[in-house]
């Protein structure tokens, strides 16, 4: 048996090392190696998908001794919650490398950083050891910092620094929580499976651990009021940086919310669930209103992320609050599917905004108009992605949000006010579409070229998956449901 998880996990890193070791490679070679390693990673992820998960605990577990004296080991594996995120990462990184293959400004370091980021992303989702998880979780920050600082827009240094300090500050409480779980275990271990099977903390200790985790994950998600780094980082980040930041790295937070907060301190989460739920509702509605107020396309998309992640928080807290396993499964199905869909849809949106900016050197909606006629392919792609983002039935977000609302209605009906968010987001996107793509084309954009083959290759897979997930969500949901339906809290 091939160690599929480890292979998938470390393939990008091998690619990065290869790129750094080659003496003076050309830009073509660098991009070629990156695309090949990312493609192989996707093959690995697909093979993992075919292997599937059993409903009970984790599957495809690989273990290697690391620090036996303190009970830390290299442990990786997947379940129905992490496997879709692994697949999402493999897809998003591959299209990111395709998109970025035209870069000529220091491509070697840039591509190596993204490859490192891919390993840390897949590592975060597959790690089954507290220390290992934290290692991947943190290293991702470093590569993202250098990506923004080195290849971002005008004010990149400041934005990168803010991102780094904010998220590092945010992740330190998690370290305390991990130490607490470790010392609280009857037989001290960093094995996350043991922490999930028998939550080691109870009472006040569990509540403190939960608070620490919530701070960490709220920064990452980001939830109100810890979201202020997000617009700054997105506006300054290069396009691929934004795609990965929104598509993958925000999921570190929501994934951690499920894996750590919900599964390792379930009792405390049930007690505090209503507070978390309120934060989720406020995040979703605030994100929607903030998006409505934007005139910059990229900031607009960034704020819709705050809205969509707010729904995930609502779903997870509904799962924590309910005592009915069926409702809990529905809530978690929705939350995990929402993470998956958001990666696809927001990834596509950030790519398209990046393509517009590359052509026009501006992202102000007011400067455009009638782009649907000048660049039909780009325009219709954007329309499709925008409709998916506002939750149109038949596209990826609908089945996810529907299940979240359904479960919320079953536990705390009042929280359904969060549906308001959908209406506001719909208004936001319709306004953006009208200003940017409809109306009379302006003369200054007449020469704007439509999507090149490279750009089509980058966006099309995401849009196809968006439709596939929307029309027939069962191909993902079945995997998710196998784990969520067997979840015991």
């Amino acid at each position: 048996m091939l160690p599929l998880v480890s292979l998938t996990l470390f393939l990008p890193l091998v690619g990065a090392v290869l790129i750094l070791c080659l003496p003076k490679p050309t830009a073509r070679t660098v991009h070629g190696i990156a695309i090949v390693s990312a493609a192989l990673t996707l093959v690995g992820a697909l093979a993992m998908w075919l292997q599937g998960v059993s409903g009970d605990g984790f599957s495809q577990v690989e273990e290697l001794e690391w620090m036996p004296a303190i009970g830390a080991a290299y442990r990786v594996g997947v379940d129905g919650i992490s496997l879709p995120l692994v697949l999402l990462s493999a897809v998003l990184f591959l299209v990111s490398f395709i998109y970025t293959s035209s870069l000529r400004d220091r491509p070697r370091a840039y591509v190596a950083l993204i490859l490192l980021l891919e390993t840390t992303a897949i590592g975060t989702f597959t790690a089954l050891d507290g220390i290992l998880f934290y290692v991947f979780f943190e290293v991702s920050l470093v590569s993202m910092y250098f990506m923004i600082a080195g290849w971002g827009h005008e004010d990149r240094q400041r934005a990168a620094l803010m991102f780094f300090i904010y998220t590092l500050l945010g992740s330190l409480p998690l370290l305390l929580a991990i130490l607490g779980l470790y010392l609280g275990s009857p037989d001290p271990t960093f094995d996350m499976r043991a922490w999930i099977a028998n939550p080691p903390l109870e009472g006040a200790a569990a509540m403190w651990a939960l608070i620490a985790m919530l701070i960490t994950f709220a920064v990452k998600i980001p939830a109100i009021p810890l979201h202020t780094w997000l617009p700054a980082a997105h506006v300054q980040a290069p396009t691929v940086g934004s795609v990965i930041l929104a598509g993958i790295m925000l999921k570190f937070g929501t994934y951690g919310l499920v894996r750590f907060a919900l599964q390792m301190t379930p009792e405390a989460f049930r007690e505090a669930g209503i507070v978390v739920l309120v934060f989720g509702v406020v995040s979703a509605i605030y994100g929607a209103f903030a998006a409505l107020a934007q005139t910059d396309l990229k900031r607009l998309v960034a704020y819709t992320s705050v809205n969509h992640m707010g729904y995930v928080i609502v779903g997870v807290s509904a799962a924590a609050l309910t005592l009915d396993p069926a409702v809990r499964a529905t809530a978690l199905d929705g939350a995990v599917l929402q993470m998956f869909s958001h990666g696809l849809v927001t990834g596509a949106l950030f790519f398209l905004v990046g393509m517009i900016q590359e052509r026009a050197h501006t992202r102000e909606m007011g400067e455009f108009g009638g782009l649907l006629k000048t660049v039909p392919l780009l325009g219709w792609s954007f329309v499709l992605a925008a409709f998916a983002s506002l939750g149109l039935p038949g596209l990826a977000h609908f089945p996810a949000e529907f299940q979240i609302f359904l479960a919320t209605l079953g536990t705390t009906p009042i929280a359904v006010v969060v549906i308001l968010g959908i209406a506001i987001i719909a208004g936001t996107f319709l306004k953006a579409l009208r200003e940017t793509f409809l109306g009379e084309p302006r003369d200054r954009w007449n020469k704007m070229p439509d999507l090149s083959p490279r750009e089509i290759l980058a966006v099309a897979p995401l849009l196809v998956l968006t439709v596939a997930t929307g029309v027939a969500p069962s191909w993902v949901l079945d995997v998710i449901h196998r784990t969520t339906s067997a979840l015991v809290l």
């Binding site: 004296a69 934290y134 290692v135 290293v139 620094l161 780094f164 300090i165 409480p173 130490l179």
Partner: protein, 450 residues
């Protein structure tokens, strides 16, 4: 007696190496002096390996051959070799080349004596041995700043050591013995215990540059050659901290020494980083950073006796600290003494830039580097010993430290003209070794947990 001598063979080898290096210098053969020194220290390290796992005492309990003292040798001897290679660049061709090597080894011997101290007299001996050798090392360039630095260092050291000896006399009076292991016998005289303990903290605290006994450190580091500053920040400091561990292991917990350690830890970490935040001189910045890092050691030291994690965490962090701090000093030695010298370093010399980034991130404690594993274990030990609040303070300080080290990293990747002098091959060797160690200690931490 034969058994005792067999157990201290590494120390004997180090002593012979120091003498050998000195003899070669007297014959005016500095190159041979260096070769003897390096080979001797490597052999000393090798001889120590076979002792791993031993836990005993020699010479009537006055010197301990235990995990701490064995790891002290395994960490400090290689660290001395690296410091010596750095020093080689500073002293090559000067009239005192071999003397410097010899003094470095004598001072390391003092640190080893401290790390294995089982007797209060060994504390004094070790403090004096490292002290005398390092005064001379700081002063050797014979420039005004160096002389001034050595003077301050000397006065400060004399006073604190005198206080320590004075306090130790109380312990001797109360317990009737100079053995540290006999300290529990005197819990009938709490005042004497506390007086003695305060005195030991003063004496060893100066050497470990803990706040508030740190005043000499930034001045001495700045006045001394960079290689000596690097050495001072690692070898005598780790020796003193290990000695402190040896002492508190046998102190009765009722004396409340753990709370004292916690207080010193908070002071050292917070003051060290706050002061580092406003430095523009890289040597002073690293000096204050090393003061703060000493504070982290105390998290492990105060857990000795109440947590299984304490000893492994101290040893692991010592190894990590030696690697990353020597690395940072070596990278600074190739670049310059002010922050502005680092502008554009990441662009003009990308490999040196990556190495420096790794050292600094490791000092912050970013995984999976050596500093992270060390600090992580230290936090665990403190929480295990019911000092959760202290772990929280330490973590907050780690955030503060990020601001400190980013002050070096950020300009490195701004456009600028770094003086792109060719890296001296000796510096290169030290940087590469420290770089490898920083990565390996982080990934193979198991080796240090015994």
């Amino acid at each position: 007696m034969g058994r005792d001598l067999a157990l201290i063979i590494p120390e004997i080898a180090v002593l012979l190496t120091a003498v050998g290096a000195l003899i070669a210098e007297m014959l005016r053969r500095p190159r041979i002096s260096l070769i003897i020194a390096v080979i001797g220290l490597v052999v000393g390290t090798g001889l120590t390996l076979r002792l791993l796992g031993t836990d005993t005492t020699v010479f009537g309990g006055s010197f301990r051959i235990d995990t701490l003292s064995i790891w002290a040798k395994l960490i400090l001897l290689p660290a001395t070799v690296l410091a010596m290679l750095l020093a080689r660049v500073d002293v090559r061709g000067s009239a005192r080349e071999g003397t410097v090597y010899s003094l470095l080894i004598f001072s390391t011997l003092g640190a080893l004596v401290l790390a294995g101290a089982g007797d209060t007299m060994f504390l004094v001996l070790g403090t004096l041995l490292t002290g005398l050798a390092t005064f001379a090392l700081v002063a050797y360039p014979d420039t005004d700043p160096a002389t001034e630095a050595a003077m301050k260092f000397f006065v400060f050291a004399s006073v604190t050591t005198a206080i320590m000896i004075f306090g130790l006399s109380y312990w001797f009076g109360a317990s009737g013995s100079t053995l540290i292991a006999d300290l529990p016998a005197m819990d009938t005289m709490p005042l004497a215990v506390i007086l003695g303990f305060v005195a030991v903290v003063v004496g060893l605290g100066y050497k470990a540059s803990l706040v508030p006994f740190h005043f000499w450190a930034p001045d001495a580091y700045e006045g001394a050659p960079l290689s000596i500053a690097a050495y001072l920040s690692v070898v005598p400091k780790i020796g003193a901290l290990f000695a402190l561990t040896q002492v508190v292991r046998d102190l009765p917990p009722e004396t409340g020494w753990a709370a004292v350690m916690a207080g010193l830890a908070v002071l050292s970490m917070t003051y060290g980083y706050l002061a580092a935040l406003v430095q523009d001189n890289i040597v002073r910045l690293l000096a204050y950073s090393s003061i703060a890092q000493s504070g982290y050691f105390l998290l492990g030291i105060l857990a000795v006796g109440s947590s299984e994690l304490a000893l492994p965490s101290i040893i692991l962090f010592a190894a990590a600290y030696a690697a990353m701090n020597l690395g940072a000093f070596a990278a600074a030695a190739t670049t310059g003494r002010t922050l502005s010298d680092f502008e554009g370093l990441g662009r003009t010399r990308p490999l040196m830039g990556i190495a420096m980034v790794i050292f600094l991130l490791s000092l912050v404690g970013i995984p999976p580097l050596a500093g992270f594993v060390g600090k992580f274990m230290l936090f665990g030990a403190a929480i295990d010993a019911q000092f959760t609040w202290l772990a929280v303070v330490a973590i907050v300080n780690s955030v503060l430290s990020l601001a400190v080290y980013l002050r070096i990293i950020v300009p490195m990747y701004r456009a600028g003209e770094s003086a792109s002098a060719a890296t001296d091959p000796w510096h290169g060797i030290v940087v590469i070794t420290a770089f490898a160690a920083t990565l390996i200690i982080g990934l193979a931490a198991q080796l240090f947990i015994v």
